[in-house]
C-alpha cells in the first residue's frame, strides 16, 4: 500500500505543479528588474546595427537601443545580455520569453503584428530593399537583372519582396536561399549568384566586408519599404509602452537638442519640453512604471537618436550611410515622435 499511496501522491503533485506553471506569468518589467539584466536579441553580425568586436563587446544602432532600455529600466546601460539570433530563430526566441526585447533590424509587417503575437514599438531605421552586383556585370538598374540568379537569406521579408519585384516586372530569375547571411554572401562572391539582396543598409555594410569593395555596387533601385524597429511580445502592454517611449525619447531628445554632452547642463534648462523629458516637471517616468530620471540616464549613457545614428551607421562610422528618410521630420526626414506631456 505504501507504494500505491506514493504513486498517487506523485501524480497529484504533478497535476498541482502543472497547474502552477500555467498561472505563473510575471510582468516583463518585474522579471528584468529581478534579474538585474536586460536580455536583448540582436543580429549575429551586421556592421553598424549589431556586431561584436574581437573582445566580445557589442556595438551598433540596435545594440544602442538595448543599452538605452537598460539605462532607462535598470539605470546602467551595461546591464545587458546580448543574444545573437538568426532570422529564423528570432521570433521564436522572443515568443518563448528567451528575450525581453528583440532589436534586430526586423521589418514591421501586418503579418507579424497579427499572427505572431509580436508588437513593434516603432521604427528606428527606415530602410528599403536593394541589390548589390558586381560592376563587371554591367548592370545599371534592377530591371536589367532579367535571368539573374539572386542569393538571399532565409526567413526574411526580403525573400518575398524579391519574388514580388520580379513577378510584377515580368522578369525571369533564380533564387538561392541560405540559412545564414554569411553563406549567401560567400556564394555571391564565388560568382554562384549575380546579385545579393537585402535591406540597403545591410548592403552598404556587407560591401565593406568584401575583399575588394570597389568591384561591387549597390543598384539605385529600392524595391520595398522596410521599416525596421525593436519588437516585444503583445501580451505585456506595460513593457510595450516602456520600450516604445525609450524610442520616442531618443528622438525627442534630438529634437530638443539634448545630447550626451550637454544633458547635465540641460537639467537646469527652462524649456518646458526639456524639463518634461529630463523629469524635472511632471511624473512621466512614474507613469510608465519607471522613475522620472529614466530619459536623463538614457541620454547620459547612450546619447540621443542623432548621436546613436551617426556613431553607428552615419558619418561617424565606417559605413557612412546618408540619414535620408531617417532625418527628423523637421529636417526633411520622417522620424517623428509623439510629445512627452
Amino acid at each position: 500500500m505504501k507504494h500505491l499511496a506514493r504513486g498517487v501522491f506523485w501524480v497529484a503533485a504533478m497535476m498541482v505543479a502543472g497547474a502552477g506553471v500555467v498561472e505563473a506569468q510575471q510582468k516583463t518589467l518585474d522579471t528584468v528588474k529581478a534579474r538585474g539584466q536586460l536580455v536583448c536579441g540582436v543580429n549575429v553580425g551586421l556592421a553598424g546595427f549589431s556586431a561584436a568586436d574581437d573582445k566580445g563587446v557589442w556595438s551598433g544602432l540596435d545594440v544602442a537601443y538595448c543599452k538605452a532600455i537598460a539605462a532607462a529600466v535598470l539605470g546602467d546601460a551595461g546591464k545587458v545580455r546580448y543574444v545573437a539570433t538568426t532570422t529564423k530563430e528570432r521570433f521564436t526566441a522572443l515568443q518563448s520569453r528567451e528575450l525581453d526585447v528583440l532589436a534586430r533590424n526586423t521589418t514591421w509587417t501586418l503579418q507579424r503584428d497579427s499572427q505572431q503575437g509580436l508588437a513593434f514599438v516603432g521604427v528606428n531605421y527606415y530602410d528599403g530593399q536593394g541589390f548589390i552586383v558586381k560592376k563587371s556585370a554591367g548592370v545599371k538598374t534592377g530591371k536589367e537583372l532579367s535571368g539573374a540568379t539572386v542569393c538571399v537569406q532565409t526567413g526574411t521579408t526580403t525573400e518575398l519582396n524579391l519574388a514580388d519585384f520580379f513577378r510584377s516586372n515580368n522578369l525571369q530569375y533564380k533564387t538561392l536561399v541560405f540559412d545564414k547571411a554569411d553563406e549567401a554572401l560567400k556564394a555571391y562572391q564565388a560568382d554562384r549568384c549575380d546579385s545579393y539582396t537585402t535591406d540597403a543598409s545591410g548592403l552598404y555594410s556587407v560591401r565593406l566586408q568584401m575583399a575588394k569593395p570597389d568591384e561591387h555596387m549597390v543598384l539605385p533601385d529600392v524595391i520595398s519599404k522596410e521599416p525596421l524597429g525593436p519588437v516585444v511580445r503583445q501580451d505585456d502592454f506595460q513593457w510595450f509602452t516602456i520600450v516604445k517611449w525609450v524610442h520616442f525619447a531618443l528622438i525627442n531628445a534630438e529634437e530638443a537638442g539634448v545630447t550626451q554632452a550637454n544633458v547635465d547642463q540641460m537639467l537646469t534648462s527652462t524649456v518646458p519640453d526639456i524639463k518634461r523629458l529630463l523629469g524635472k516637471e511632471g511624473d512621466f517616468g512614474k507613469g510608465i512604471g519607471l522613475d522620472n530620471e529614466w530619459a536623463y540616464r538614457m541620454i547620459k549613457q547612450v546619447g540621443n537618436y542623432a548621436e546613436v545614428f551617426e556613431r553607428n551607421v552615419g558619418a561617424g562610422s565606417r559605413i557612412k550611410i546618408d540619414r535620408g528618410l531617417n532625418k527628423l521630420w523637421s529636417k526633411g526626414g520622417i522620424q517623428y515622435a509623439p510629445p512627452i506631456r
Binding site: 521570433f91 535571368g147 525573400e159 533564387t175 556564394a187 554562384r192 501580451d235
Partner: protein, 398 residues
C-alpha cells in the same frame, strides 16, 4: 482504500484483498502510469494552445492553403511564388527524396567498392581504401559539405567561360547544363514498348526459373532481357519516326537557358552525403565479408565452383545477412543528414518548409511537428523496406 490499508503490510498473508495480489497490483500500476502519461500529454497540448491564444499567435493548419509568395531554385513539380505553402511542402519533400534516393544509390555502390578494396590482396589498393575510410568518416559532415560547395565552387568558371562537354552540355559555377529530351507526338508508343518489354522480361524470368527447377537446364535470362528492354523501345522509336527532340542549353544574358540544370548545391550535397556515408558502408561491407567463415569459401571451391560463382552463390548471400541491418541505419542517417542542405542553399525539405515557410507564417509548432512527422515517416518506410529485404535474404532454416 481505507478498508485495504487496514491490513498491515508486514504480515502480507493475512489479508485476502485483491490489492495484495501481485498481478492485480501490476495492472493498477500500469493503469496509473498510463493515466499520468495521458494527463501529461493533455496538459502539454492544452498549455501550448493556451499560451498561443494568450500571446495572439495564430495556430492551426490553415496556412497550408495560403499563397506562399517565395520562389524555390529547384522544383520537381510545377511551382511558382503564387502557389500555396502546401505546394511548397511537396516541392521541399521531393527535393529531399531526390537527394536521399540518389545519395543512397551512390553511397551503396561506392561503399561496396571501397569495402571490397580494403580486403584486396593488393597492398596499395587496400591501404588507399583504408586511408579513405579513416579520413572521410572522421571529419564532420558539415565541413565536408562546405568543402564540396565552397572550395569546389570557387574553382569552376563563370557562365561565359563554361567548360564545354561533349553532346551540347556545359559545366560552370551555376551548375551542370544538360540537353533535355522533349517527347513529341507518337512518343507514347516508345514508352508502351518499354513497359511491354519489362512485363515480358518478368515473365521470362519466372519461366526460366521454373524450367531450371524442373529440368535443370539453364537459360541466359540477363542477355535476353537486355535485348528486349533496349531493343523493343528502339524499334518502336525508329518505326514511329523518331518522335524525340532535344532542348539544348544556350547562353542568354546572365545564364544558360533551356536544357536541364543540375544545381551545384545538389551536386555538392550529393557528393558530401555519398562520400561520407560510403566510408561507413565500406566498413560494414568489410565486416560482413570477414564474418563469413573461411571454410565456406573452401567448401565452395571443393565443390568445383569458380571464384565468381562462389562469391555470388556462397559468400555474398551469407555476408548480406550481416550487412543489411547496419546498412539500414546508414540509409536512415543519410536521409536525416540531408537536412544539412540548408547550410549550402539546396532547397530541401528543411530549407523550404522548416526554413522559409516557418518564418513567413510564424507557426513554429505546427511546422516543426509536420517536419518531425515527415522524417519519422521517411525513416519508418525505409526501415520497413529494409526489414522486408532482410527477411528475404535471411538464412532459411529447414
Amino acid at each position: 482504500m481505507t478498508t485495504t490499508s487496514r491490513g498491515s503490510f508486514e504480515d502480507g498473508t493475512a489479508s485476502r484483498s485483491p490489492l495484495y495480489r501481485p498481478e492485480v497490483r501490476q495492472v493498477i500500476y500500469q493503469v496509473l502510469l498510463l493515466l499520468a502519461l495521458g494527463y501529461l500529454v493533455y496538459w502539454v497540448v492544452n498549455n501550448v494552445a493556451d499560451n498561443l491564444r494568450r500571446q495572439n499567435i495564430a495556430s492551426g493548419f490553415d496556412f497550408l492553403n495560403r499563397t506562399s509568395g517565395f520562389d524555390v531554385s529547384q522544383t520537381l513539380i510545377p511551382y511558382s511564388n503564387t502557389s500555396t505553402y502546401g505546394r511548397a511542402f511537396w516541392v521541399g519533400l521531393l527535393n529531399t527524396l531526390l537527394v536521399a534516393g540518389l545519395g543512397i544509390v551512390f553511397a551503396t555502390v561506392l561503399g561496396f567498392v571501397i569495402g571490397i578494396a580494403r580486403l584486396s590482396s593488393n597492398w596499395l589498393v587496400a591501404r588507399l581504401a583504408g586511408a579513405y575510410v579513416e579520413i572521410v568518416r572522421n571529419l564532420p559532415l558539415l565541413l565536408q559539405l562546405f568543402f564540396w560547395y565552397f572550395a569546389v565552387l570557387k574553382t569552376l568558371p563563370s557562365p561565359r567561360q563554361s567548360y564545354v562537354l561533349p553532346g551540347g552540355a556545359f559545366f560552370n559555377v551555376r551548375g551542370l547544363y544538360l540537353p533535355m529530351p522533349v517527347p513529341e507526338m507518337g512518343f507514347s508508343r516508345v514508352a508502351a514498348a518499354f513497359w511491354a518489354a519489362l512485363i515480358l522480361s518478368i515473365g521470362i524470368g519466372w519461366w526460366a526459373r521454373r524450367r531450371q527447377r524442373v529440368t535443370g537446364q539453364r537459360f541466359r535470362v540477363l542477355r535476353t532481357v537486355l535485348v528486349l528492354v533496349v531493343g523493343m523501345p528502339l524499334f518502336a522509336y525508329f518505326t514511329s519516326g523518331q518522335p524525340l527532340s532535344w532542348s539544348y542549353p544556350e547562353l542568354r544574358g546572365f545564364n544558360f537557358q533551356g536544357g536541364i540544370v543540375v544545381l551545384p548545391e545538389l551536386l555538392a550535397l550529393l557528393f558530401g552525403l555519398s562520400f561520407y556515408t560510403a566510408s561507413f558502408i565500406a566498413e560494414i561491407v568489410r565486416a560482413g565479408i570477414l564474418g563469413v567463415p573461411k571454410g565456406q569459401t573452401e567448401a565452395a571451391q571443393a565443390l568445383g565452383l569458380t571464384n565468381r560463382q562462389s562469391l555470388r552463390l556462397v559468400i555474398v548471400p551469407q555476408a548480406a545477412r550481416i550487412i543489411i541491418p547496419p546498412l539500414t541505419s546508414q540509409y536512415l542517417n543519410l536521409t536525416k543528414n540531408s537536412s544539412l542542405a540548408v547550410a549550402i542553399g539546396y532547397p530541401d525539405f528543411v530549407n523550404v518548409f522548416t526554413g522559409t515557410v516557418l518564418n513567413q507564417t510564424g507557426q513554429a509548432i505546427e511546422v516543426i511537428l509536420v517536419t518531425m512527422a515527415v522524417f519519422l515517416l521517411l525513416s519508418l518506410l525505409t526501415s520497413i523496406f529494409m526489414n522486408w529485404f532482410n527477411r528475404r535474404m535471411a538464412l532459411v532454416e529447414r
